[in-house]
Amino acid sequence: MATMVYMEALSPTMEEGRLVKWLKQEGDPVNVGDALAEVETDKAVMELTARADGVLRQVSVAAGETVPVGHVVAAILAPGEGVGEGPAAARPPTVTVGNEKWETANVAAAPAAARAPAAGAPVPVGVAAAAEAARVKASPLARRIANETGVDLKLLQGSGPGGRVIKRDLERAAALASAPAATAPAAEPFPVPRFPSPERPYEDVPLTQIRKTIAKRLVTSLGPIPHYFLTAEVDMERAAEAREALNRQLGEQGKLSFNDIIIKTTALALTKHRACNAWFQEDHIRYWNEVHLGMAVAVEDGLITPVIRNADRKSLAEIGREARALAEQARSRRLQPADYTGATFSVSNLGMFDIDQFTAVINPPEAGILAVGSIVPKPVGVDDRVAVRRRMRVTLSCDHRVIDGATGAAFLQTLKQMLENPLAMLL
Amino acid sequence: MTTATAPASKDGAQVELQRRMLRQMLLIRRFEEKAAESYALGKIGGFCHLYIGQEAVAVGSLAALRDDDYVISSYREHGQALARGIPATAVMAELFGKATGCSKGKGGSMHLFDASKRFMGGHGIVGGHIPLAAGLGFAIRYRGGDQVCLCFFGEAAVNIGAFHEALNMASVYKLPVIFCCENNHYGMGTAFDRVAAVTDVVEHACSYDMAAELVNGMDVSAVYEATQRAVRRARSGGHPTLLEVRTYRFMGHSMSDPLHGVYRTKEEVEEQKKRDPISHLVLALKEEGVLDDAALEALDQEARAVVEEAVKFAEASPDPDPSELGTHVLAD
C-alpha cells in the first residue's frame, strides 16, 4: 500500500515549506528514516524523512516549489506496487486447469483494458498520478457516511484497494469513537467491585507504613501549598500515528505506550520552561537543570512515584523500558529509595481508568504535577468541519509560590504543541 | 407470361376512369415539382425520392384496388400515397416534417403512412418491406378475407434476399399479394443489367411458381389492366402475382443526386421523356376525342391549385410538439 509523503510541519509554526532539493529521486529505494528532501521552514532547512520502506514514486513537487503543510509531495510504494493500482489494473484472479494457468479474463477485470493501453489503462507516472495520490480515496458510500457523520476521511486508514476508505473503515472508526478509551489497556473487563465482607458495615484497617507517609506528605501539600490548576485538551492524532509507526518499526523489541510519549514530551517541554522544573525550598527556589520525572504508579495499597532520571535526554525506547521496569519493581515492592526520590516534576496518568480529566496533588518540594486523562475519540472542529479525533485532557497542578499562571500556561502550551506535532521534539 | 391487353370498349365509366387517372398523374407531377422546389428552398430535408416519370405505375395499379385492400411501398412513394387518396396537404406536411403530416412529422418523405387508407407505409430499407407485404397477405388469408395487398418496390430490390424469401412464402402459402416491381432501370446510379444476372424481373416468378406479367409502365391503362388481372387472381384463390412494370425515372435517384451523368446520358433521359406517361395518356384521350386543350388546362390548373394549397397548409402547420419526441416509441 502506498505511503504518502507529505510536506510535514517541521517547526511548530510552520504552515508551508519550500522544497529545497530532493535527496532521493523518483524510483530510488528508500528506508524508513532516510532523508528524502531538504525543506526550508520558517526557521531552518530541515530534512523530510521517509516513513515507510519502499520506492519513491509520484514525486509531484519540484525543487524550489513551496507547498502548504499536509500537501502530498510524493509517495512511497512497496516494491512492485503499480502506480495505477486499482480494480481496473489489478490482475484478474487465475484458475488452474491441468498444469496451465488461465487468466479468467472475463471475471470483472476488463480484458480490453488488460490488452489495450487505451481508456482505463493505468495512468502513467507523473503529475496526473500524483494528483490522484493526493486525493483521499473513498468509496462513494464511505463519503456519504463520512459527510453525514462528520468524519474526516483524511484521518482514516482505508482498508480497501489502494488505501480506499470503505464502509467498514467508518464502521470501525465509529466503534472506536463509542468504545471506552481505546488507547487504554482496557481489553480486560473492569473488575466488578465486591465488598470482601458484605456482612459488616465497615472494616478497620491499620495504616500501613506507606499509607502513613502518603497521608503525611499530601497533607503538607494541598493544605500549605497554594495549588491552582490549568487544563488543556490535546489532539493526540499525530502522536498516535507516530506511536503506531514507531511500534511498527520496533516490532518485537517492545511497545511504546502513550505514557512513554507523555513522559518524554513533558521532559522536553520542561527543558524549555525551567520555571516549572523547580523545588520550593522555603527560603529559595531551586530551579533544576536536569529533568527527573516522577511517574505515579498505583500499587496494591497506594501509590508511589518512581523517578526516570534525565528523562529529557533519554530516547523513547529507553524511557519505555525504564518505565516498565520501575512500575514492575514498584508493584513488587522492590524499589530502592533512590528509585523514587529526587523527582523535579511528576506525571500522574489515570487514562487507563477512563478518567477524562482530574487534578493531581503536588508532590513537595516539586512545584508541579501533570494529571493525564484518557484518550477519547470525539468530534471536534477541524478547519471548517467537524471531525472525530483522538483527544486527551491534561491538567497541570502548579505551586503558585513557584509557578505563576502565565508561566504554567506557557509550559502547558509547549507541551500541547509538542504532543500535537511530535516532530517538533526534534527542535 | 405477358398477356395481351384486351380491346377497350370506350364506355362512359372507362372515360371517367381515364380522366381520373390523368388528374392523379397531373397531381403527382405537380406535387413532385413543388417538392423539388421546396427541397431546394430547404423546407424539405433528408432524402427525397421523386416519382416524376413513373406516375402511371402508381396511378394505374392503385386504380384497380378497393379501399379495403392493403398498399405498401418502398421509399419512393409520394405518388402511391397521393394515388391512394392521402390528401396532398397531409403528404406535403409530412415532407415538411410538420405535426399535420400523415405520419405526424416523424416519418418524412420515406415513411408516409395512413392506416385509414390501409396505406402501410413507405419503407426505407431496400427490399425490407417485401416480406411485410407477405405478412399483410397472410393476415388476409388468415381471416379468410378477399382483400389483396399491393406491394411496390424497385428493380434493385430483386437482388435482395428478402424479395426471394417473400415471393417463395407468398407462393407456398398462396397469399393474395401483388408484387409490383417498378423497373426504372437504375438502382440509384447502377444500371440493373450491370448487377443482375437475369434482367427480366418477371423471370424470377418461375422460381416461385408464380403468375407474372411484363407491363409497359408508361401506359397507365396497361398498368391498370394488368393489375386488375392480378387482383382477380388474388381475390379468387389467394394467388400472388409478380408484375414487372417497365418505367423510367426522369429525375435523379434522390434530390441530392444528378439527373444524369456518369451512369446515364442526357440523351437517354431526353429520349425516355418522349415516353412521358402523362403525354401518352393525354394524346390517347385527345385521339379518342374525350379531352381537349381547355379541359387539360383546367385539370392541370386544378392540380396546381391542390399543390399550392398543400404547400400553404404545410408551411402554416406547426412542428410537432417537443413532447412528441418520446411518444409512439411503444404502444400502450
Binding site: 480490453a112 | 416480406p131 405478412g135 424469401e165
Partner: protein, 327 residues
C-alpha cells in the same frame, strides 16, 4: 402447484393464449409437424391446425418480416427462431420494421408481435451457435426484451409478451428447457419490466437474468457456506424496460453489486446496469460494480476452453470477494 419443465411452461403459455385469442398464431421452423426443434410447440399443430401453427422455410428474414406484416394487419404472431443465432438474419425486420413502424407512422400502426427462441450458449456448439444477443436487442427503442429464468417466469412472461401491443423479444435458454419448477395453472401473468428477488441477501447484489440466475444462486449458496456472505440474487427478468427501481433498492441495501451475464463484456447488459447504478446509486456504492461475463472471445468448441469462457459460480464468488474486499 404443478411442477413443469420450462419447455412445458412455454407450451402451456402458447396453448392458453392461442385458445384465448384467435389472432395469436405461431410461426417458425419446425414448429408444426416436427413439434418444435426443442418441442416447445408440442401438440399445438394438432390442436390449432396449420393456419395457426405454421411451418416455414429456413428463411428467418422472410418469416420474421411476414410476422411483422401480419402484426401490421392486427394479428398477434409468435415467431419462433430455432435459435437467436439464426435470428441475426432477421435483424433487419426486428430492428427496421418491428421496432420502427409505430414511431415512423406517427403512432398509427402498432406491431403486437413476439419473437422468441433459445439464446446464449448450450454445450459445445461452437462460436456461431453459442451467442447471447440480449445486448443487441435491448439496445433498440421500440422493442421490449425479457429473459425468464424459471418455468413460472417463462409462462408468465410469454403470456404477457403475447398480450403486449409491442414487439417483445423472449429470450429462452436451451439449457433451461429441461429445468423444473412450480408453475401456476391457468391465468398467470408476469408483468414485463419487473425484476424478481430470487434470493434475499444483505451484503452484495448479484444482478442476473436467464441462465445466469442459476449461476448466481449457486454462487450465493457457496458464499453463504464458505464466506458467511449474504448475497441477494436479483433476477432482472426484463432487460428492456429494466426494473431500475428494484436494482436501486437492492443496491441501497447491499452497497455492492456484481452483474452476471452470458453475453460478452463490451457494451453488454451489465454495462447498462452499471451505468444506472453509478448514476442513481452513486452515494450508496462501497465498491466498484464488477461484472462476470462470457470471455471476450468467440465461444470455442473445446469443452475445457468453453467452460473457461463461460460465467460460473466460482467466477461470481471471486468477483463478490473483491467487491467485499475479502481478498
Amino acid at each position: 402447484m404443478p411442477t413443469l419443465t420450462y419447455r412445458d411452461a412455454l407450451n402451456q403459455a402458447l396453448r392458453e393464449e392461442m385458445q384465448r385469442d384467435t389472432n395469436v398464431f405461431l410461426m417458425g421452423e419446425e414448429v408444426g409437424l416436427y413439434q418444435g426443434a426443442y418441442k416447445v410447440s408440442r401438440g399445438l399443430l394438432e390442436e390449432f391446425g396449420p393456419m395457426r401453427v405454421v411451418d416455414t422455410p429456413i428463411a428467418e428474414l422472410g418469416f420474421a418480416g411476414l410476422g411483422v406484416g401480419a402484426a401490421m394487419a392486427g394479428l398477434r404472431p409468435v415467431i419462433e427462431f430455432m435459435t437467436w443465432n439464426f435470428a441475426v438474419l432477421a435483424l433487419d425486420q426486428i430492428v427496421n420494421s418491428a421496432a420502427k413502424i409505430l414511431y415512423e407512422s406517427g403512432g398509427q400502426i402498432p406491431i403486437p408481435i413476439v419473437f422468441r427462441g433459445p439464446n446464449g450458449a448450450a454445450l459445445q456448439l461452437a462460436a456461431q451457435h453459442s451467442q447471447a444477443w440480449e445486448a443487441w436487442l435491448a439496445h433498440i427503442p421500440g422493442l421490449k426484451v425479457v429473459a425468464p429464468a424459471t418455468p413460472a417466469d417463462a409462462k408468465g412472461l410469454l403470456k404477457s409478451a403475447i398480450r403486449d401491443n409491442n414487439p417483445v423479444i423472449v429470450l429462452e435458454g436451451e439449457m433451461l428447457y429441461n429445468t423444473m419448477g412450480e408453475v401456476p395453472d391457468g391465468e398467470y401473468l408476469v408483468p414485463i419490466g419487473k425484476a424478481d428477488v430470487k434470493r434475499d441477501g444483505r451484503d452484495v447484489t448479484l444482478l442476473c437474468h436467464s441462465k445466469t440466475v442459476t449461476t448466481a444462486l449457486k454462487a450465493a449458496e457457496l458464499l453463504a457456506g464458505q464466506e458467511g456472505v449474504s448475497a441477494e440474487v436479483l433476477d432482472l427478468r426484463s432487460l428492456r424496460p429494466l426494473d431500475e427501481a428494484a436494482i436501486l433498492a437492492s443496491l441501497r441495501k447491499t452497497n455492492r453489486a456484481v452483474v452476471v451475464e452470458e453475453g460478452w463484456p463490451h457494451c453488454g447488459i451489465g454495462a447498462q446496469v452499471v451505468d444506472l447504478i453509478q448514476r442513481d446509486a452513486f452515494d450508496h456504492l462501497d465498491a466498484p460494480v464488477l461484472r462476470v461475463t462470457q470471455a471476450d472471445v468467440p465461444l470455442p468448441y473445446n469443452k475445457q476452453l468453453e467452460r473457461l469462457a463461460k460465467p460460473s459460480p466460482d467466477k461470481v464468488v471471486a468477483a463478490v470477494r473483491r467487491v467485499l474486499y475479502l481478498d
